[in-house]
Symmetry: C2
Subunit: 129 residues, 2 copies
C-alpha cells in the first residue's frame, strides 16, 4: 500500500498529522540517523518507500543502497544494527530523522559515525576528529 | 575555482585530507544543520558548489533553494541566521554536517527545527513534539 501523496498546499503539508512523504524523482527520501543518547549525527542515507515502511514497522534502520540498487538492512552482514527509537519527519516531509541505538560503527570505515572530518576554512583541507 | 573531483578509489575518498565533494546529478550535496549547543538536528537542505564554498568562507549557512532555484543565505530576509561553527563532511563526501548557532527558528514554520513530528508506528500518524 502506497502512502498518500503530499498536500499541494504547503502549510497543510507542514501541519498535517498524516504521513505524506515526498520522495524525489528517484523515489527516495533522505534519512539522517542520530545517536539517541549522545546526539551524534551518525550518517545520512536514502530510503525508498519500502525502506521507510520497514524502518517504521521493524524498528530496524533500513535503507535503499543507491550503489547496489537494493534494500539494505543496516547491520545485516556487519552486525552493526540500528535499533530505531523514534522516526521523525520534517516540515515538508522530504527528510526523516531516526533516533537510534547504534551497535558498533554506523560508518562502513568502522568509525562510530560518518562525519569524522572537519573542513578547515583557511586551507579547505580536511582534519580528522 | 571548482573543487577537485572525488577519488575513484572509495577508500582513498574515505581517508583523504582533501576536500573532494560529490555533488549529485543536479550539482547538489545534502547538508544537515545541527545546533552546536543542544545537538538538535535543525534541518536538512541542499547546497551547490557556490553555497558550500560560501558557507565555509563566510561562516554563514548558505544553501541552494531548489524551489526558487537560487542561492539562499539563511536568515537573509527573516533574520534567522545560522552562524556556522564547524563544517564536517562524511566518508564518501556526499553529505555535509554544519554545527551552528541558530538565531530564531531554523524552520520556516517558526519552529526551532524542522523535525517536530514523530511517526507513530501503529497508526502511521504524525504526533507533534
Amino acid at each position: 500500500m502506497s502512502f498518500e501523496p503530499p498536500f499541494a498546499d504547503k502549510s497543510e503539508q507542514d501541519e498535517t498529522d498524516q504521513l505524506r512523504p515526498q520522495f524525489n524523482a528517484d523515489g527516495l527520501i533522505a534519512a539522517v540517523a542520530q545517536d539517541v543518547e549522545t546526539g551524534e549525527v551518525l550518517m545520512l542515507a536514502w530510503m525508498n518507500e519500502t525502506a521507510l515502511r520497514a524502518t517504521i514497522e521493524t524498528r530496524r534502520g533500513t535503507y535503499w543502497s543507491r550503489s547496489r540498487q537494493k534494500l539494505w538492512i543496516k547491520g545485516e552482514t556487519s552486525g552493526h544494527v540500528q535499533d530505531v527509537v523514534e522516526v521523525m519527519i520534517d516540515c515538508d516531509q522530504d527528510a526523516v530523522l531516526l533516533k537510534v541505538r547504534q551497535t558498533g560503527g554506523a560508518c562502513h570505515t568502522g568509525r562510530k559515525g560518518c562525519f569524522y572530518r572537519t573542513i578547515e576554512p583557511d586551507t579547505l583541507n580536511l582534519s580528522k576528529t
